[in-house]
């Protein structure tokens, strides 16, 4: 997570999923797109929604709801995808809706509350108290590390 030293301000792309607001540092976000024609992959882990073709690149779509154990998306609700590059591979994080980009000060970020859900705690890099709601900053490396805990499915 890079930090603007002079101001201590960082840009975050925000989005909501299952009613919770999340944020990712903008420099980790490649693009935001509407996923179409997702091919499901048999035998893959539950959080793998499938693979899709984004302008000639093959993108592995990860369902954030499943990844965080937040329950299935309601029928008819079309997900959005946040494109992320990691070690030469393209991933698409499926979320409910993408919000605005917020400029937030590093000083205001708080550590995870001790009683935070385990699934969330594992991938959360801290929490911002915004007006009216809380913003959970995701550590994308840990979100995409579908280690033994996740792949077992």
């Amino acid at each position: 997570m890079t930090m603007n030293d002079s101001t201590g301000l960082n840009d975050y792309v925000t989005f909501t999923t299952a009613g919770q607001m999340f944020g990712l540092p903008i420099e980790r976000v490649q693009d935001v797109f509407k996923p179409t024609r997702i091919t499901r992959v048999p035998l893959a882990g539950a959080e793998i929604a499938g693979v899709l073709n984004l302008r000639g690149r093959i993108v592995t779509a990860i369902e954030l709801r499943t990844r965080l154990g937040l329950g299935a998306r309601g029928g008819g609700q079309v997900p959005m995808a946040i494109g992320i590059e990691l070690r030469g591979e393209s991933f698409g994080l499926l979320v409910d809706a993408v919000g605005e980009v917020l400029k937030l000060s590093d000083d205001e970020r708080e550590a995870n509350p001790i009683n935070l859900d385990r699934n969330l705690g594992r991938v959360s890099a801290g929490v911002y108290r915004l007006d009216g709601q809380l913003l959970v900053i995701l550590d994308i490396d840990r979100v995409l590390d579908l280690g033994a805990e996740a792949v077992a499915a």
């Binding site: 499901r40 893959a44 000639g56």
Partner: protein, 845 residues
């Protein structure tokens, strides 16, 4: 010209040209470290390469120059004399290279003059005299602008340099590998785009784009081929280091090993080449270390002192086959068995049921090494598993054949290129998948009423294909896309390793040249897929890995059944210890079994179609009347429903054996432990822990057709010649004895080669030997050699029976003196061969 030499000349000339440009600056700034380093690198490379290419003169000179350059690089001040001397040396190197380019040989003469001076200099002695080198003095004064040396003033030697440079450059140009890779990627994308356009046009029949698109398509194909060609390299490039390795190993292991290489010019994609290099090296090391015996052992076994490792490569279809074989001791099967149990890879009971070929495959398991002592060449048990996984990674397969005392052959089959692969697009469970066409043998449409019907033996789906049983998997079920209930669909017959199986899919679309994209790291653990690709319509689909899918056979089909040998046409006789047995029930509750290979078909016949005539049951079957026989008096033909029968066919006639229920097919040893006097019963054997009656098919055949075994014409019957039948299996002795007898011969049966030799040593009259090739202790080949060595029996005709007749076996048989080779179950062929050989005897007499 030798490829290596050409590459060396091209490379060296290029480097020299580069250094040339810097030489002028060298004179001006003799202590410029960068220039020194460049010249050092050049002479160092020349020295190193010359050793390989057997260019001693150049090597010696370069070596002397390297010493001096090394000193300079390490800080010894560079004097004017030194510069002159270096320049003179480089000029000499150029002159020698030029001569090599012209004549492919080093020119006569030596360079003692230069080498002496270089020696002085490297020892730090002031040069005794100014080098009397003309070239250095001829060199013009360095111009102010070092980029383009004064062209107009070129002295004659320099012009020849340029001409030579051009000549060499014309042979080939060097392109960075990355450039080629990028070009390949770009072409791959172009192919994809072309496919997408074709897809669009396919939907719009009347399109103006049709003709130009066709042209684009052709050009793309040509371009693809062209780019592919630029990436092709002879496999010999991957073999370059092997002669040296084998030579070193020979010395180290104190063995005399010769390396033969055939087909070194067979070309394949450089990416593939890179990936097979290490596995090949490893296999060759293994052959030298484990395969080839020590001298004493070889001589004791009556072999030539020199062991041979043979590397061959050739193209076959869309792939390249690489074979590494040695004429060493062969794999130590007993050792592998013991090791497999020791490592807990397999239980005692399971091991007994494994064929030799399966046992061999254990060496590809991780951490498996049978070398009793670890040498520093191999034997650490880190290798064969890596070899196999490396080869499978590039969509290849590796097989091995081994014969005790004769050697081992590894066969590697790999695709020519990895980037673009023609594939079959299929559908299963509503999803589309690509199956690389390399592994697809054929497509069969299966439906209930038609010719090909999917049947089940217990829970294992199978398909009869040209009288063979093909184990099936249902892609939908293997991929957990739902249950498959209907018995119809397309069967994609695939080969994975030496396993042939069918995958049932819901639909087959078309073939498409797909561009393989690496699979996401999150999906790589799924063995069923080898990659992803984008189809012409833009959608992403998964590429099926036949090896991965074949693993499902182990789960769906009973383990032994998965290895039915018949379809494995190119596998050598792995019949050895185990036999596929069809287990069924009839009459008593004792399970009964018969070798599956004798059974032509399994049928269920509608009881209403069974007719009774003269107390015999008959059924119309394939336009013939087929007699139905109960297996014993306790078995009764059913009155209604479906009657399961085993069909035996021979010489165009069929017999149906009435049974109650077909239970299973198992792969098991056939050790008849208690023989039986009861007609129709060979005896009892323990199969899968249950005492099982082994049925004598030979008993039933004459019952159905009295003349079944009496077809041979009467003339041969009168001669009553004696046949010595050698087979370690009681089953075959029992089966073949009445058969040969019925053809009019006396039969003496021997249970081993030793027993046969004992019989031959007696005075008994023998006219002909029929022997199994594959027997424990002494096999048919050795027996034949022993017979040939007996003065009184040297000309006795020998007919070999082999479970699988391969070209190699036939060739080997010819060497040891087999007169004929007959497949083990080819009864007609055997009788014909016996008749033919005894006819020869008649003529000889």
């Amino acid at each position: 010209m030798d490829d290596l030499l050409r590459v060396f000349l091209t490379e060296t000339t290029e480097s020299l040209n580069l250094v040339d440009a810097e030489l002028f600056r060298f004179e001006q700034e003799p202590n410029n470290g960068k220039i020194l380093a460049n010249i050092f690198r050049l002479v160092h490379t020349i020295k190193g390469t010359c050793g390989f290419l057997a260019l001693p003169r150049l090597e010696t000179l370069a070596h002397a120059a390297e010493n001096v350059m090394g000193k300079f690089r390490d800080g010894m001040p560079v004097t004017a004399e030194a510069v002159s001397l270096i320049l003179a040396t480089i000029d000499r190197i150029k002159a020698i290279l030029e001569a090599i380019d012209a004549s492919e040989r080093e020119p006569e003469g030596d360079d003692v003059d230069l080498i002496e001076q270089l020696g002085h200099m490297s020892r730090g002695e002031a040069a005794a005299a100014k080098p009397a080198m003309a070239p250095a003095e001829k060199r013009p004064e360095p111009p102010k602008n070092p980029q383009k040396p004064d062209k107009p003033d070129k002295t004659p030697p320099e012009r020849t340099e340029d001409e030579r440079g051009e000549r060499l450059a014309n042979h080939s140009i060097r392109v960075n590998v990355d450039t080629l890779d990028r070009l390949m990627t770009t072409v791959s994308e172009l192919v994809l785009t072309r496919n997408q356009l074709l897809e669009i046009v396919r939907r719009n029949e009347e399109s103006d784009f049709k003709v130009p698109l066709q042209r684009l398509s052709n050009v793309t194909a040509e371009l693809q081929e062209g780019v592919m060609k630029t990436r092709m390299q002879p496999i010999g490039n991957a073999w370059q280091k092997l002669p040296r390795i084998v030579r070193d190993l020979s010395a180290e292991l104190d063995k005399d090993i010769e390396l033969e290489m055939r087909g070194a010019d067979t070309e394949l994609d450089r990416q593939v080449l890179e990936l097979v290099k290490d596995p090949l090296t490893h296999l060759v090391r293994n052959c030298a270390d484990h395969g080839i015996e020590r001298l004493a052992e070889r001589l004791a076994a009556g072999k030539t002192a020199k062991g041979t490792i043979r590397l061959s490569a050739w193209h076959q279809g869309g792939h390249i086959i690489i074979e590494i074989s040695d004429n060493g001791r062969g794999l130590d099967l007993a050792g592998i068995r013991a090791k497999a149990i020791e490592n807990g890879l397999v239980s005692d009971a399971d091991l007994a049921a494994k064929s030799d070929a399966e046992i061999c495959n254990f060496i590809f398991m991780p951490g498996f090494s049978t070398a009793t002592h670890v040498t520093n060449i191999s034997g650490r048990g880190v290798g064969m598993d890596v070899v196999r996984s490396n080869i499978e990674q590039i969509g290849g397969t590796i097989d091995l054949k081994t014969a005790a005392g004769l050697g081992t052959t590894f066969t590697i089959k790999i695709p020519l290129t990895l980037a673009i692969v023609p594939s079959l697009i299929v559908e299963a469970g509503g999803e589309r998948f690509a199956i690389p066409q390399l592994s697809v043998l054929e497509l069969v449409r299966a439906d209930n009423g038609g010719e090909h019907r999917i049947e089940r033996i217990k829970d294992a789906p199978v398909l009869r294909l040209r009288n063979k049983l093909l184990p099936l998997i249902r892609l939908k079920e293997v991929l957990c896309l739902g249950e498959c209930d209907n018995e119809a669909g397309f069967v994609v017959v695939m080969q994975a390793g030496n396993q042939v199986f069918g995958a049932v899919v819901d639909g087959v679309f078309h073939t498409e040249e797909i561009v393989i994209k690496p699979m996401s790291s999150k999906l790589r653990h799924i063995p069923a897929f080898s990659g992803t690709t984008i189809l012409g319509d833009g959608s992403v689909i998964m590429i099926i890995d036949p090896n991965g899918v074949a693993q499902a056979l182990g789960r769906v089909v009973t383990a032994g059944y998965a290895d039915r040998p018949e379809m494995e046409s190119d596998e050598e006789d792995n019949e050895g210890d185990t036999v596929s047995l069809l287990v069924f029930r009839a009459g008593s509750q004792h399970p009964k079994a018969v070798p599956l290979s004798l059974v032509t078909r399994l049928e269920e016949i509608d009881c209403r179609k069974i007719e009774v005539s003269d107390g015999r049951h008959l059924v119309q079957y394939r336009n013939q009347l087929m007699p139905l026989l109960p297996i014993d008096s306790e078995t009764h033909v059913k009155k209604e429903g479906a009657q399961p029968i085993l069909v035996f066919s021979d010489q165009g006639r069929s017999l149906g054996l009435v049974v109650d229920e077909i239970v299973d097919i198992v792969e098991s040893r056939l050790d008849i432990e208690v023989a039986s006097d009861r007609p129709g019963l060979l005896g009892f054997a323990v199969i899968k822990g249950t005492t099982t009656e082994i049925i004598d098919v030979g008993h039933f055949l004459p019952q159905a057709f009295e003349d079944w075994f009496r077809r041979p014409d009467a003339s041969t019957m009168r001669q009553a010649r004696t046949v010595l039948l050698v087979d370690d299996s009681i089953f075959f002795r029992e089966l073949l004895t009445p058969l040969i007898k019925a053809a009019g011969y006396r039969v003496v049966a021997a249970a081993s080669a030793a027993e046969a030799l004992a019989a031959l040593k007696s005075d008994g009259r023998f006219d002909l030997i029929v022997t199994d090739t594959d027997m424990p202790e002494m096999d048919g080949f050795v027996l034949a050699e022993a017979v040939r060595a007996m003065p009184s029996r040297a000309t006795l005709p020998i007919i070999a029976l082999a479970a699988m007749v391969s070209a190699e076996a036939i060739e080997r048989g010819r060497v040891v003196g087999f007169h004929d080779f007959v497949a083990k179950f080819d009864r007609t062929g055997l009788i014909a061969a016996i008749k033919e050989q005894s006819a020869d005897l008649n003529r000889a007499a």
